[in-house]
Structure formats: C-alpha cells, structure tokens
C-alpha cells in the first residue's frame, strides 16, 4: 500500500498535479486577501478604518477583520445571479471565465521557488516561458471585450472598446521592454532569468528603464488605476462589468486580482530576482533541504506581496488618465523609450563583447 503510494507520487503527472493544486491553494487565498488589503489600505489612506469586524464565524473573535473574504464570498454566492434579457447569452456567460483563466495559466510557467526535494518549483519549465506568458496575457483582453460586447448595452460596450485599445497598446510597450532582459540573459526560460540574477545583480538595477516601463505596462494590462479606463466607474458606471451581478461579478473581481498576482510574479521573476535574495549562498543557490526550499518560496511570495501593496497604494494615489493621455504615453513615450533601451543595451553588449 505504502509502496504503491510512493510509486504513484513519483509519477511525473502526479507531481505536476500536486504542484497545480498547491499553486491554486496558495493563489486563491492571496486573491481573497489582496481584496481585504485593498480595502484596508484604501481606508487608511482615506483616514477611514476599513472592514475590521468579521473574524471567525459564530464567535466574537474579530481578528482585525481577516474573516472578511468568507463574508464576501458567501455574499457573492447567495446573491441572485441575474441575467438581463437583452444580453448575448453565450458571450455573457463565457466572459467572466475568460477573464479569470489567463491569469492562472500565466502562473504555470512562473518559477515560484528553487527546489523542494528533487522537484523544481515550477509547474511547466518551458523554454519559451516569456513568449508563452505574453501569448496568454493577451488573451485576458478577450474576456473584457466579450463582456462589453455580450452585455449589449452602452457603457459596457464603451468599456470593452477602451480595453481593446489600451491593452493592445501597452502589450507592445511591455513586450519591447523585456527584450533587453533577454539580450542580457540569453535565454527565454524564466528559470534561466532567475539563475542569471542569482549570480549577479538583479535586473532592476541593470535595466531600470525596462523595469519602469514594464511596471507601468502591468498597471495598464491589469486595468488598475491610473489606467482603469475600461472600468472607470465615474464615467462608465462600471464599464465592462455593469450588467454583471453575483458570482459572475465576483469572477471579474477575482480575475483582476489574479492578474495583479500574475503581473507581480512576472515582475519579481524578470527584474527582482525571483526567489533569490542577495544575502549569501543560502538564499542564492537552489535549495538542498526542504526547509531552504520553503524559505525560497516564502521569499518569492513576500516579494509578490510587496508589489501587490505597491499596486494597491498607487490605485488610491493617482487619478485616472484621460484616454488621449493614455494613448499618448503608451505609443509616444513608452514605445520609443523601450526601443531606445533595446538599442542602448545592444550597443553596450556589443562594446563589452568586442
């Protein structure tokens, strides 16, 4: 019995399945708690207190409001799932899933730790990791566009249109921004990017322009303020999710936060050293022991959490850009800047190697 279990666990597909379940089990609570973090941080910035009541159900223990996701989730589940009569049903039903899925798929190629036992801590160690990521991230826009189109009403439609234009524009700047990273690393595999950073300085110090452009493009890609034009509640009611209610709306919401986590994970991997820390060999070499492996995963999650906090902070700091300003920045500033950065990097590499 025991032997057959160990045999089963050493099967590659079982291990992959275990990793998928583990990643899912970590990311879902992160999504839930980034919503709480969003609400608490926004409250503190606005001199409010935020949700601080819900604790452990059926007790008086408040736990600083950390039980809030339970209440929110329950509320979304038991609310009426209303489908307006005028919507195009197939697209309307498909859209929330299409928003949520790509963010999770991106996480499949992200190395979230070094080693745990003999296992590399990445679900799919693709050699074309970053190309795969960009391919999948672009799919995220379909969910929003379909929501805007399928809702068959004015405001969602406008939101959908804005989403298309915005995400396509920033996709290009984002893709161009990471080209110098791979010129330095010489590999498209995300694990290789981390290995490169483990042996030297983090890429955020070598490629600050690329990092800045990538960071801002991630804000635009995840529809976060100051680029939340598809949603812009002051102009478009709620943009693409105006006609949605209950769990479908919650799926959009979760999709946004899952996209934030995926974007933060990409930033950590590409520019901030992934699971490494420049504090000696313990943090920079692949783990030998189980404990070291867990520490590496912890470091990775902590870095993601820091980026999430930054994104939340920025949201409550800056007003929304005007549509023409958004396009202006994307096409007239970031695209030329990233192209110049590629040429600069190429020149420096050419000089160094000749």
């Amino acid at each position: 019995m025991l032997a057959s279990i160990t045999e089963l666990v050493s099967e590659p597909w079982v291990l992959t399945l275990l990793k998928v379940v583990a990643v899912f089990a970590v990311v879902m609570p992160m999504v839930a708690y980034s919503v709480v973090a969003e609400r608490r941080i926004s409250a503190w910035i606005q001199d409010r207190v935020g949700p601080n009541r819900v604790g452990i159900p059926f007790t008086n223990i408040k736990l600083l409001g950390l039980g809030q996701p339970l209440a929110d989730g329950l509320k979304s589940l038991v609310k009426e799932d209303f489908t307006p009569a005028h919507v195009r049903k197939a697209f309307y039903w498909m859209a929330p899933a299409l928003v949520l899925v790509p963010s999770f798929v991106v996480l499949a190629v992200v190395p979230f730790g070094s080693m745990l036992g003999a296992q590399k801590m990445v679900i799919a160690d693709l050699d074309v990791g970053i190309l795969f990521t960009f391919g999948i991230v672009s799919l995220g826009v379909y969910g929003i566009v379909l929501a805007g189109y399928g809702s068959n009403s004015k405001y969602p439609f406008l939101g959908g249109i804005r989403a298309t234009a915005q995400m396509i524009s920033y996709e290009i700047a984002m893709g161009m921004a990471v080209v110098p990273v791979f010129m330095l690393v010489g590999d498209l595999n995300l694990s290789a990017v981390i290995d490169y950073q483990a042996s030297g300085a983090w890429l955020v110090f070598k490629q600050p322009i690329a990092f800045a452009i990538f960071l801002i493009a991630i804000f635009a890609e995840t529809n976060r303020l100051p680029f939340d034009l598809p949603e812009s509640e002051t102009e478009l009611v709620a943009g693409y999710n105006t006609e949605y209610s209950s769990m479908r709306f919650a799926l959009f919401f979760m999709g946004e936060y899952a996209a934030m986590i995926a974007g933060s994970a990409l930033m950590v991997v590409l520019f901030c050293g992934g699971w490494t820390l420049p504090l000696g060999d313990f943090f920079n070499t692949p783990a030998q022991s189980l404990g070291q492996g867990l520490v590496h995963i912890g470091v990775f999650i902590a870095k993601i959490a820091m980026f999430l906090c930054l994104m939340i902070w920025i949201r409550w700091m800056l007003p929304r850009f005007r549509y023409d300003q958004l396009m202006n920045i994307g096409w007239k500033r970031f695209l030329p800047a990233s192209l110049a950065n590629i040429i600069l990097t190429a020149t420096v590499l050419w000089v160094l190697h000749s």
Binding site: I41, A43, W44, I45, D47, V49, W313, W316, M317
Partner: protein
C-alpha cells in the same frame, strides 16, 4: 469656446512631481491616526481615523431632531394624553391608532376628562414628520431622539401605549419650558398657540 490650458514645463510633463507628491500625501494620511475634529470629544476609546465605530459610538443627536414619536408622562408620572385623537387624524401615513375609552373611561390625573384605552404607533408606517407633536394640545407626544428602530417581526414594531410611555418617560423639559413661559402649571398648549397667532401681523 476656447479653454486656455496652462503650459506645463518639461519637468511637470514627466508626471514625476505629481507622482512624488501623491506618495507624500497618501503616506501622510496612511500613518495619521488622528481623530477627526468632526466628532469633537466623542472618543470613547476609538481614537483612530475618522470612522465612527457605530454601534459602540453614537453621534450627538442635534436639538430639534425628529426621531421616533413617543408618549410622555407629566412630572407626576401620569399620562398626559387625553385621547382627543387629533394626532390620529393628522397622521399622514396613518401610523397612529387610538382606542378611546368609551363610557368606562378612567383617568389617572386631575384635569383630564379621559385617557386612551389603547394607543398604538406602527413604527414601520411612521414617517417622522412630527405632525402629531405639532398638533397635540396637551404636549403628550414628542418626536424624541431614537433613530434606530429595529425589530424581527412586523407585530413587534407596533408599539403599544405601555411601551410608548416607558420609552417617552417623564417629560420634564417641556413642563419646565411652559412654567418659564408663564403659561402656568399644567399644559395648555392652545393658549400659547392662540397668543402666538394673535401676535402675528395682520395684513387686512
């Protein structure tokens, strides 16, 4: 119409000054735990941020606030209501229902001919307009300061006379007010109203 826009300098167009300023402002508020001055000295142990922790802390009800209508007793703890039913008639949503005593009326104070057998206010119907308080010749009903009327059933929210009197309590304030006005002992609101009406300027 042409709107003149301010020409931004190169430095300003970088968005960086606004960004830094934003960081500064948000950080200042994030770490500021000062209580807002809106609540004055109502700190009660929650001396952080501006949010009022509602069920534990409550705001000061301003003078003249129209809360739930309750019956008040006089200083001798006697029912003031004389069952004239004016409030019942004036009540726009018909939230008040008075059962008059009929022939078998008993009174618990001197100077009153009768008192209601039953006096009910449906708090779910009440719109807090204050007409009942305005019309009452005996100053027996007042819109007091309660604003959070809750219950689990509809029946529970129909307050009967006993409950209304208990909630209203003895209305020392109105009594003193009248003594000061020189109207004298006992409530004769119609005298005040007549005097006030006589003091109005006449236009014909």
């Amino acid at each position: 119409m042409k709107v003149d826009r301010t020409e931004l300098t190169w430095w300003e167009r970088l968005y960086l000054p606004t960004l830094l300023n934003g960081f500064k402002v948000t950080l200042r508020h994030f770490f500021s735990w000062k209580r807002s001055e809106v609540y004055g000295d109502k700190q009660k142990g929650y001396a952080a941020k501006t949010t009022m922790q509602y069920p534990e802390e409550k705001w000061d009800v301003p003078t003249g606030y129209r809360g739930a209508p309750y019956l008040v007793k006089d200083v001798d703890d006697k029912t003031k209501c004389v069952s004239c039913q004016l409030c019942e008639f004036v009540c726009p949503p018909r939230a008040i229902r008075i059962t008059p005593p009929g022939d078998s009326g008993v009174v618990d104070r001197e100077g009153a001919e009768k008192m209601p057998k039953e006096f009910e206010i449906d708090m779910l119907r009440c719109i807090y307009c204050g007409f009942c308080q305005e019309v009452c010749p005996e100053e027996a009903i007042f819109l007091l300061e309660d604003y959070a009327i809750t219950g689990e059933t509809r029946e529970e929210l129909v307050y009967d006379m006993e409950k209304l009197l208990a909630l209203g309590g003895a209305d020392k304030r109105a009594y003193d007010h009248h003594v000061q006005d020189g109207v004298g002992e006992g409530i004769k609101k119609w005298e005040t109203k007549t005097r006030e009406a006589g003091e109005q300027p006449k236009f014909h």
